[in-house]
Every structure is written in C-alpha cells, then in structure tokens.
Amino acid sequence: MQNGNINKIWTILGSVPDPEIPVISVVELGVIRDVKLIENQYVISVTPTYSGCPAVKTFQDDIKTQLKVNDIHNFKIDIVYKPAWTTDWMTKETKEKLKKYGISPPGKTVQCPQCDSTNIELISEFGATACKSMHKCVECLEPFEHFKCI
C-alpha cells in the first residue's frame, strides 16, 4: 500500500486532545501540519502554537503514546516553524466547540460565550495559557477566557 497507515494515523491524531483544552484535538487545533511516509517511516510535522507553550511537549508525548498503543512504531515527529501557526486554521466547528466549552473563540470581535454579547471588558491581555486573554461580559457579568486571534 502506497500510503500505508496515513489515514489511520490521522484518525489516531484526531483522538489526541489538546492538553490544556481537552474539548478539541491536536488536529482541530491546527498544529498537525502533515503526515508523510518517507522511506518506510511516517513523518508527522508539528508546529508549535506559541514558542514557549509547555503543552507542545505534552501533546508530542501523548501522540507518541497513542501511536505506539495502536501498534505504529516507525514514526518521527518533526517540528516545523513555517508557516507560523495561526488561529485561521481552526474550522467553524472547532470554534463552536470552544464556545460550548466556555472559551470565546478567535475572531474579529470578542463575544461572550454565554450570552453572545459584544459588550465586554478586557480584564487582562494575558491568561492562564499563552493562547488566551481574560475578559468580562458587561451584560451577564460572567468572566470568560478568549482564545487570542493570531
């Protein structure tokens, strides 16, 4: 088979959750850039979200574990920096999942994930992880996290 287990690998990767936001997978996050079969070895290209994000190391370990559990051993993970990760790679469905989880998804405007109001206040440009900022809804008064648009 020319492609071997490539489809299977994508399916497995789709089941590896983001360590910080377990409601979406690493594929949905957009960090898996490519899976290729090169000389009998699967090369999985991964790009970091933020340079120093500690989750990058964690999900690499999770990927390795899941692939081995599924009996795939001939693989390596390649870190690629270009093109730089962007929240534009998230699909509409992924953004909807984030919203349901209580995180305002990346977009042109910041919207309260609870009541959809755009009448919001910035609490802090930095949050508990590198990818999020903190806001408060003026309408329903709920504080919430926003996935920064980069």
Binding site: P48, G52, C53, V80, Y81, A130
Partner: protein
C-alpha cells in the same frame, strides 16, 4: 565554533537571559494580571531561545541545546547587557522590556527575510509574539509616564538609567557585517531610524523625555558583561551543574 553558530547564540542569549529576569517576577507581580503577563512573556521568550539554541546545537552536532544554556560560562554568553540588569521596580522592568521589544520586533522583521530558512522561520514565528509584548510594554510606558507625578518621575528615571545600554543594539562587529553581507544576518545600522521613530512616538504619548545622547556601554559581543550575569547563571545553571546526570 562556526560564524553562524555564534551569530545564533547572540540572538538566543538575549532572549534566554531577559526571559530568566522576567521569570523572577513570578509570584511577585504588582497585581495578579501583571504577574501572569510577565510570566507569559517570559515563557514566549524562553521558547524563542529554545528554538534558536536547538538550531545552533543541530548545526554543531556535538552539543545539545541544554549544554548551550547550562554549561557555558559568563564569558561565553553574548546577550545584550540590558537583558541581564536587575529587575528593579515594576517601572524599571517595563522600560527595559519596552526598549528590548521595540528593538527585537524590528530585528526579527528583518531576520524573517534571512536567506537561512530556519532563522527566517523562527523569526516569523517570534514576530507574532513580540508584537503582543510590545503592545503590553508600550501601554504601560504611556500609563506610567502620563500617570501621577510620582509614576512619571519614576519611569523617567528608569529610562535615564537604562539608556546607556541601548547602544549595543546597533553595534556591528566583523561577524555582524559578514552575516549581513551574505544576507543571513541583519544590517543593524538600518534599524536605528525606525527604532527612533517607534520609541519617540511612545515617549511623546507618555509625556516623558528621550534622554540625551551619551557614551554607550559596550562589550557583550565579546562576552564582556556586568556583574549581574554571573549571578543569574549561578542560579539558572545550578541544578544541571550540581547534578550532571539529572533528567527532567
């Protein structure tokens, strides 16, 4: 050591050392939000340093990125001296960060056009993060400068004290010239005007004075540093040096 390795170390070391300084704010920030902000920025810079040191180690082939961070002595570090200065009060840290962010943004924008693909890629990635850092630091410069008479006096003093360390940003030695000529590195002379424009505009909004030209501190490109670097290294490198076989 190859020219390219040394050139990468200069960029990596500044990110690593200022990152370490910012990490010292963790749990000591003036507010919870600022504590988180400074730690976040520190983490981004540590990530940038890591990418660069990994690249340097891959060219070298005999040493690891950890070796480069933890097994070099002070004289083998090439970070700008402004990065190693003590944090001082919050305004001091903000001014140092503002001067550094505004410079590194311009530097990385040029480095993103490097002929070296990895350097270009790391720079492109870093620009997104540095823009965010610069927005944070310049907002604080404006807020403190255009704040109370006390905050204004303090931040003006901070700026005056750090000013003599900004000359290193635009110094070019033989290595810089060589790297710029072969289009891997950046022509630092060309960054000066734009940097002046950025900082002058912010100082104007902050209603603080740009310090007069003065004799600038120099030496980091040759591994010459203030006494503060050794103190950082003695903490930062303690564990891997005391327990060479430690794994983490």
């Amino acid at each position: 050591m190859l020219d390219l390795e040394k050139y990468i170390l200069r960029i990596a070391d500044s990110a690593l050392i200022i990152s370490h300084r910012l990490s010292e704010w963790c749990s000591k920030g003036p507010t919870l939000e600022e504590d988180i902000a400074l730690s976040n920025i520190s983490l981004d810079l540590l990530g940038q340093a890591n990418s660069l040191l990994e690249y340097c180690a891959s060219i070298n082939g005999k040493i690891s990125a950890d070796d480069l961070a933890f097994r070099r002595n002070g004289k083998e570090f090439y970070n700008f001296q402004i990065c190693e200065l003590e944090n001082g009060h919050f305004g001091d840290t903000i001014i140092r960060q503002f001067l550094f962010d505004s410079y590194t943004l311009l530097f990385f924008q040029k480095l993103s056009q490097s002929k070296d693909e990895t350097l270009s890629a790391i720079a492109t990635k870093s620009i997104k993060e540095i823009k965010y850092h610069l927005r944070h630091s310049s907002n604080w410069v404006i807020r403190l400068g255009d704040g109370t008479s006390l905050s204004k006096e303090k931040i003006q003093n901070s700026l005056n004290n750090f000013w003599k360390f900004t000359g290193e940003f635009f110094e070019m030695d033989e290595l810089d010239k060589k790297m710029a000529e072969c289009k891997i590195g950046v022509d630092l002379y060309k960054l000066k005007n734009e940097w002046d424009n950025i900082i002058n505009a912010t100082f104007e909004k902050a209603k603080i004075q740009r310090p007069d030209d003065c004799v600038m501190i120099t030496g980091s490109k040759k591994g010459v540093h203030t006494e503060h670097l050794e103190k950082i290294l003695s903490k930062m490198q303690y564990l891997p040096r005391a327990y060479p076989d430690a794994k983490w």
